[in-house]
Each structure stands twice: as structure tokens, then as C-alpha cells.
Symmetry: D2
Subunit: 305 residues, 4 copies
């Protein structure tokens, strides 16, 4: 049960079987940091190439293909007083014939700046000047991108997502959540980054409030628990993520994973599982901006047997 302090020296813009930066054991915790989506650290300086650079990967001893990696998100906190967002809803989420009427920014004016007050727990729009004025929103820090090395030697861009996790941009991946990831390679090789001070559903402007983070997480390994898609758990819900395009297919993945969970692990009979899901299931949208979209299928713990 060691707590590791880890200072990253390089970053990856793919999630893959990169050489591990640290070898840890089930039960261990890691305190580290992440840069923002453009590679800028807590001082705002770009220290690595942009594109959701990941801290890691962390090798978890004993994790083997077919196991499940448990990651408890102990701490996800912005570590600087400013962040940025894009300013235009992405063309892929509006009607095609409306795309020319979007407020296409001039070159060099694609970003909005936000002041982040971590003590007050707020983010305030600083620029550009709009009728929103100094719009102030409550912080809701989350990790937009994390995951484990995928199968068969793939190295997958942190611009997208899959069964291994990746750029899901789900608002529910906050401090306190327990994440479950399928293990595809020895050691699992956990990566994390892409902190958002807050974000709307779908990440429809292509960003949350992008910011560097102080991150702590602890890990565990569930031997021979085979899952197919990222799962999670908070105080009130269990949930499963599906990552694909179109959203219909992401929905199929997430729903199927939840059915598996109910039938195979929570010991509901199939008819019971289906009746329960029909009347109590909830869906959340993760990202609808990236090559693969993310759908979350969740159930209130209160209705589980």
C-alpha cells in the first residue's frame, strides 16, 4: 500500500504499450500531475506536443489480460488559475445546412479564456467579450481521457476512444469515482490526462475548460473478472461506457455491457434484468465531438437487488 509521488518527464498522445514510467502494486496510490490538452503545465507553459498528452503509463503488477483494472480517482484538481475553451459548437452536432451560419472564428481567435478560482470553486469567462459578460460557473473537475493499453499492439490516438477507454469526455469521471477497465496487456498500462475544470455534456465545442491537474489515484486488480467496456461506480450509480460512432452503436455497447453486469455479476435473472433496465435505466452523453462518441448507460444503486 505505497503512495508513489510521480513527476512526469514525458507524455504520450497515443494510449498504447509504451514503456511504463512506474511499476506499482495493487493497493498502491499515485500522486502525479497532468498537462492540459495542448501540453501546457501548471505554469501555462507548453512542455510537450499538443493533443491530450497522457501521463504514464503505469504498470500494475499482477494485471493480466482478462482481468479488470480498478482505478479509484482519489483526487482530480486543477492546479493553476486559468483555463481555455473553444468558442464554436462543432459542425458535426448541428444540422449540415446550418454549418455556414456558425460563428467561425478568425484564425488566432478560436479560444476563450477563463479564470479559475480553485478556492471559490468557480470559473469565470475573461475573454472574448460577449453578452455573457463575466459568466461564472461552478467547477466540476473531471478527467476527459484515461485508459489502458489496447489489445494486439494497437496504439490509439488520445483524440478518440474505444474498449480501452480513451477520450470519453464524460462529466461523470470525477473525484471519488471508481473506474473499471478491461486489461489487455500485462500490467494494464494505465494512462491519464486531459483535465477539465468543468464541461458541458458532449464536449460540443471540442473542449471543456482545459487545464492542468494534480491527480491522485489508487489501483487494484480483479483477477479473472472479464469486462468489455469501461465501467464506473459512484455513490448513487453503476454505469458502463460505450465508445463508437454513431451514438446508436455507442448506446448498443453501453447497454450490452450493463446487461452483462446485471446478469453475470449482480445475479439477476435475464427477465428481471431486462424489466429493471426498461423502467429505471438512465443514459448520459459523453463526448459527441471525437471520432468515436461516448454513451453512458447507468442504473441507480437504489433499484439493484
Amino acid at each position: 500500500m505505497t503512495t508513489h509521488q510521480f513527476q512526469p518527464h514525458h507524455y504520450h498522445t497515443t494510449i498504447g504499450s509504451h514503456p511504463p514510467v512506474l511499476r506499482i502494486h495493487p493497493g498502491d496510490s499515485v500522486m502525479t500531475s497532468t498537462v492540459d490538452a495542448r501540453g501546457a503545465d501548471s505554469s501555462g507553459q507548453p512542455i510537450t506536443a499538443p493533443g491530450n498528452p497522457m501521463t504514464g503509463p503505469f504498470y500494475v503488477d499482477g494485471a493480466e489480460p482478462g482481468d479488470t483494472l480498478v482505478v479509484h480517482l482519489d483526487k482530480l484538481r486543477p492546479n493553476r488559475p486559468f483555463g481555455w475553451t473553444r468558442t464554436m459548437v462543432a459542425p458535426n452536432v448541428v444540422d449540415p445546412e446550418q454549418v455556414p451560419r456558425l460563428p467561425w472564428p478568425e484564425e488566432g481567435k478560436e479560444l476563450a479564456n477563463w479564470r479559475v478560482d480553485n478556492d471559490a470553486g468557480t470559473a469565470t469567462l475573461v475573454a472574448p467579450q460577449t453578452r455573457l459578460g463575466a459568466l461564472t460557473l461552478p467547477l466540476a473537475p473531471m478527467s476527459g481521457c484515461f485508459g489502458v493499453a489496447p489489445a494486439r499492439g494497437e496504439a490509439i490516438s488520445t483524440a478518440t476512444s474505444g474498449p480501452h477507454g480513451g477520450n470519453m469526455d464524460y462529466r461523470g469521471f470525477v473525484e471519488g469515482v471508481t473506474v473499471y477497465l478491461p486489461v489487455f496487456v500485462p500490467g494494464a498500462l494505465f494512462h491519464i490526462g486531459d483535465g477539465h475544470a468543468l464541461q458541458g455534456d458532449g464536449e460540443i465545442v471540442g473542449t471543456g475548460i482545459e487545464i492542468s491537474f494534480d491527480v491522485s489515484f489508487s489501483v487494484d486488480v480483479q483477477k479473472s473478472r472479464r469486462i468489455f467496456w469501461p465501467r464506473g461506480e459512484n455513490e448513487d450509480y453503476i454505469f458502463a461506457a460505450g465508445n463508437a460512432r454513431p451514438l446508436d452503436q455507442a448506446t448498443q455497447h453501453a447497454t450490452t455491457e450493463m446487461i452483462r453486469w446485471l446478469e453475470q455479476e449482480l445475479e439477476l435473472d435475464p427477465v428481471g434484468a431486462h424489466i429493471l433496465m426498461g423502467q429505471t435505466v438512465e443514459y448520459d452523453i459523453g463526448n459527441i465531438y471525437d471520432p468515436a462518441y461516448t454513451m453512458i448507460c447507468k442504473l441507480p444503486k437504489a433499484v439493484l437487488p
Copy 2:
């Protein structure tokens, strides 16, 4: 400002330019009833053909193409002590290769029965016997299907949805909500039915707890307010519905309609509107079972200027 008592004598399984059953004025209210999705009334007797039979249509004086019909849902209440659901998650929302493993019911055993206690505000599973036992859930009555006659003489099945509304199965269409619908024909021709005592997101078993309703609504007309998709408003949110397949396209419709609302009616500048949506938008899933799926794009009123 008349309150009409209307006892339906026949029902429609399309939404279209049917002869109106009642002519009402802006400001008027209607107290009426709806049968369940199979055409059974408050006694449980089937009194009309199945398939989401609609009560109406109601002709609203003064409503013309290009206007917006306002419908305030004053009362949506189950009026009998029993309802029914299907028992299997629909094949279209699970991974294709998993479809053979679904609990396909024997013929005649497709339905589950629920006892509905309107005083206690609960629904309790009666049959079949599963590990859920007498699962009891809080009522959350909603209308699964309502709308106005579509343009160009179309008559659209109440199994699906479109710009005119229809079978959206959104959990947010509850008592107290104000709905806005585009008017395509003189009098608008409002239809309503398909009451659910409660429902999970997506209506993924193809039903909520289907039940007959006592319904009251009041109407108004906003002259020359042109909207393109159904909208709504409750105490906390404004929202817009998009109806299409795949969900990606439903999302495009709903998002575009919300952008219009912000820019054209709430007087946000485009850049302000987009920045605001990026960080505060929320999406809810309506139905993901019918030919057209439903996506809801919503914004908290608290963040609106």
C-alpha cells in the same frame, strides 16, 4: 378562458389533418382522458385499435402555419390502478451479436403487469416472477406521444416522431411543463395520448408502464414565432427536441434548435451563445426504440442572461 370537458369517442393512430373533435380558443383549457398504448381505457377494456391511439385533434382558433402552439400540461395522471410493460430490451439497442442471447419471451408472455397506486405514488411489479420480487418504483407520469398535424397533408404514424412531435417518449414531458410546437396547418390540430406511469430513459423495452390517463392542458398561440422542432420549458430548464435516426441526427436537430432559441429569441450574440452551450448544455435521451429516435438539448435557466 373556457375549460372544456371532452369525452373522446374515437381515436387516431396517426397524427394528421383529421377532423377536429373540438374547437378551442387561446387561453382555453381542456380536461379529457387518454387510452393506453393498446387502446384500453380506465377500466382496462380495449375500446379502440392499438398503437398509441390519440385523443383529439383539438383545433385552436387563430393558430396558423408559422405560429407556435403553446400547450401547458396542467395534469397528467394515471386513472386506473394497473399498467403494463414489455419485458425485453429491444434488439436495436444491444450489440447485434448479442441479440440471440436476449430473453425472448414465449408468445403470449411478452408483458409484465404492474399495480399502480396513485395515492401512494408507486408502481409495483406483479408478474412475471423474477428476482426483482415486488419491485416498487415511484410514479413519474409523462405523456409519451403528442403533437400537431404535420405539413403538406402528411398523416404520420404515432409509432414515430418528427418536427410535429409524435412518439418522443421523453421523461421530461410531465405535468407542469410548457410545450411549444410549430404550427403547420390552420388550427394546429393538437393530439395527445400514450400515458406512462413512469419510464426509463430511451423506452428501451418499447414501453413505459403503459396506462390510461386523465389529462388537462391549456393552450395559447404565439403569432409569427416560428420554431422548427418541439420545445419545452420547466422551472429549471429550457429544452428542444430533435427526432430522427441515427441519434447523431436527432442531436443535430436539437442542438440547432437550441442555438436558434439563444440567438434569435434570447438575444445572445452567436459567440456568447456557443461559449455558453459548450460549457453548460445537457442532453437527455428520449426514445431510442422507435423508427425516429429523440434527443433533448437543454440549458439551465440559471445560466441564461
Copy 3:
């Protein structure tokens, strides 16, 4: 075996249970005409409202729900020397971020004009002036839209398509083809219109070369042959149409219909049917412009047992 001369006096922009204009018998032929997509006749005069106006419907004696209507397309010929197309590829078939770069036409300049030489069998671009000059293409006349009244009283816009047929815009619906349509209402109620002098796959500018037609067709009824989607047959192929969005779902409908045809009517064993389809199936794109897209699944007759 009567040949009816029918001169239309009014047209419909929905396909539905409209009063029949003529009652015919199995074996009969009809010689009639169709207006172009904007309602202009052989003189170029608009004589009815635009939007793919249909000639018909024709009531076929003896056709009952559950039967199949057979329509042999005996003649499909442009009957005037000019047609028109739109000039811009539709936003829905290009990458969303490229939509602003499309050559959006000024108002009033949305159309290109073509001279149609029915004797020479060619169409020649007349305006606008482009580097194409007087581009000349061979005629390949086809009907973009035809179908039968849908089930449950629906009246469906001729802008879209479904199991009843409708606006499929498939280049393969040419003179000489035999079409099979599921019958949903007594008399089937056949509608036809939307002639194209020629068209590219997908109708990606939203039109073929739109033109009025002289049309002849003969009908038959196959009692108790139940099909689910439009089918067709020419000298070399049998084919089935699926109409839906996304194309993936249209593909599912068309493929499933072809499997039914092989297994239920052509008496292939399921494994044989699937092996055959795997290595010999071909797909054609119908329209990818309308609310519902069209996919054609076809098999060479040469490989059928």
C-alpha cells in the same frame, strides 16, 4: 387485359389512401403522364404544387393487405426537350467542416438547365457557364418516386421513402424493370412520378435531370405473397430496396429482405443462401439526400439455383 389511357387532373405530394383516380384489373396496363418534381408538365408550365407530385393513385382490383403488387415499368420516357438539376452537392454528404466551402448559389441561381434530345438520347448542359461547357450525357430515364399507400392510414410525403416505396431515386428503376411492392390497403393504390432523364448515384445534388414523363405500366397481383420492402427484377438481377437513415439501417433492411427472398421463395437452405450472398451480393446506392436513404441489395440471376 385492358390498356387504359389516363390523363391526370390533379396530383398528390403524399403517398396515401387518397381516392383512386382509376380502377384497374390485374393484367391491365395504364398509359399516363407525370409532371416534374416542381409540378411542371410537358410544356414546362407548373400545373400543380411542387414537391414530387404523384400521378394516381390507381386502385388494383383484388389487391389486399398481405399480397404483393407487381408493376411492370413498360415505358418511362421524357416528354419534353428540357430538364433541370440543382448545382450543389448537398451538405449532408460532405464532411461537416467543409460545408462552408461549398458553392452555395445565390438566390434564384440554384438551378442548372439541360437540353434533352430524346431522339439522340442525350442531355446537354445549357446553363450555367462552367468549365464543363456543353457537357453531354447519355439519357437513362428512371422514376425517382413511386409506391403504394402505406399501412394504418399514414400519408407519407413524397420527399421520403419507406416500406411502401416512395422517393427512392434509384437509377435501376428504369423501363423494363418489374417492381414488387407490399400491399397494405385494399387496391394497393399505386402512385408514380418524379421522372429523371438521368441521375448520378445517390441523387447527391438533390435532383436528377428533372423532367416530365410519358409513363406506361402494367400491373398484376400475387395473392398471399408477403414481402416487406420494395423489390425488383431486371434481365440480370433480382434486387431489394431498404429505406431508412442511416445508410447502415437501409442496408440492414435490404439485406434482410434479400435473405427472405432466397430462403423463403427461392428455396435455398439458410447456409447456402448466406454463403451465396457473401461472395456474390452487390449493393447499389439509391438516394442519400432525402430524410430516408435507400440501399439496394442485389444478386445476379446467373448465380441463383
Copy 4:
């Protein structure tokens, strides 16, 4: 202008920045071989892990990011007398509710065997026994999977496709075709494999007739010609591939790439390019089985200025 004989010793099931097996120059040719999709060579022996193992990668001197790699497919020939296919149409291409009725094979009986007569140019079904008997089809050898190393260090499974090429399974990638691929890394790193003796459109059973190949290709580099998706050319057509799900998005990619080709390289004015595409474009389906589907947008050379 060297012709290299290359005997592969190992294979890759991702397309990525693997160490090159051979360094060649523009103008050079390579004569080599490929194993079948399960890793079996010309003797039928499995010599490497299954999953579309690739021969290569080949480093092409002078190819830099932003250039285009030209690959002329000089020879694509089965080099053994037997191949195999799967026997069931994939669940993702049939209607979801029909999936349980598919002829799901018993374990160990998923494959059909074909005799391949390279002299006669035919493939004949050997097993299983079906009403097809000894179905004999003409050979039409094609490469199902080839491509170049993707950008940003990705290594992408040969089960899928993208801008880099990959598992497109397009029947048009036959001997004699010239392929154009965007270069993302120095040397381009060309991989090739997955030979099919023949295949139906869409690869809907998940395979063509899978077989090992003798392959020859020659390469060239077009400096500073920037393309975004794989392109090709044969005697009659130019074509562009789009790879994505749903097919709608693959269609958008392919269509956009063709517009670029016409406007930027073939010097058509935009209005001319769009009018031409509208009336002469053709679409072919590549694979509709893999995670990313493939759509081909093509134009007859005869209509190009």
C-alpha cells in the same frame, strides 16, 4: 528502377511505424507474398498469428508527411489452390430482430472451403453441402487490406481502416489499379496483405475467399501532393475511399475527397465540379463488416474535362 524480391519473415496485425523490412526507391518494384487472414501461407500452414497479418512495412525513400505515395498493384494472384470463407451474414447487416434466425454455425463449423483453380480462373465451393452444390464463381483477386503508417504514432489494427487505408475490402483494389495514399511518416511505411480470390460487395460474411497471394507492386512519390483519404485509378474511373461508421460518414469522407480532387487537381470550377458529380457520380460499397465501413466515390474518366 530496381525490382526487389522480398521474402517476408514476420508479419504485423497493426499498421504502424514498425521497423521497415526493406528500403526502396521511387520507381522500384517489389515482388513478395502475403499470407491469408488467419496467417496461413501458400502451403496452408499457419506461420503467424491470425487477424489480417501484413507483409512489410516497406520504406519508400523520399516520402515525407504531406506527400502522396503512389502504389501500382502490378500483380495480385492467389498462390495456392484452396481458400475459405465464413458462412453467415454478419449480424450488423441484418435487421436486429432477425438476428436470432440467422444460421449460427456450430463451433468448429464456421468456415466454408473452396477449391481455387488459378488456371481456369474459378473458385468452387467444396464444403459444406448445401443446395448450392459445387457453386463455381469466376476469380476476381483483390487486396482487402493495405496502407501506410498513420500519423502521431498510432498503430491501427488491420481489422479496421482509416485515412491511412487499412482493411477496406473494396472489390476494386485489383491488379492494374493505381492507389494513392497520404504519407504521414517519413518513408510512408507501406503494408499489404489480406488477399481475396473473390468477394461480394461489403464482405458481409466477414470474408472474401481468403487466400495467400503472390504480390508485386511498384511505388512512386508525389512530392507535396496532399490528399486526405486513399484514392485510386483504373482504366475507366478515378475513385476515393472514405472509411468510418456509419456509412453516412464514410460517404461524406469519400465525397469530400472527390470534390477536392476535381476542384484542386482537375481544375474544375466549383459549380462545374458539383454539377458534374450530381449527374455522373457512382458509389461502391467496400466493407460493411469491420469497425469502420468503407464507401467509394467514383467518377468515369470519360466525363472528366
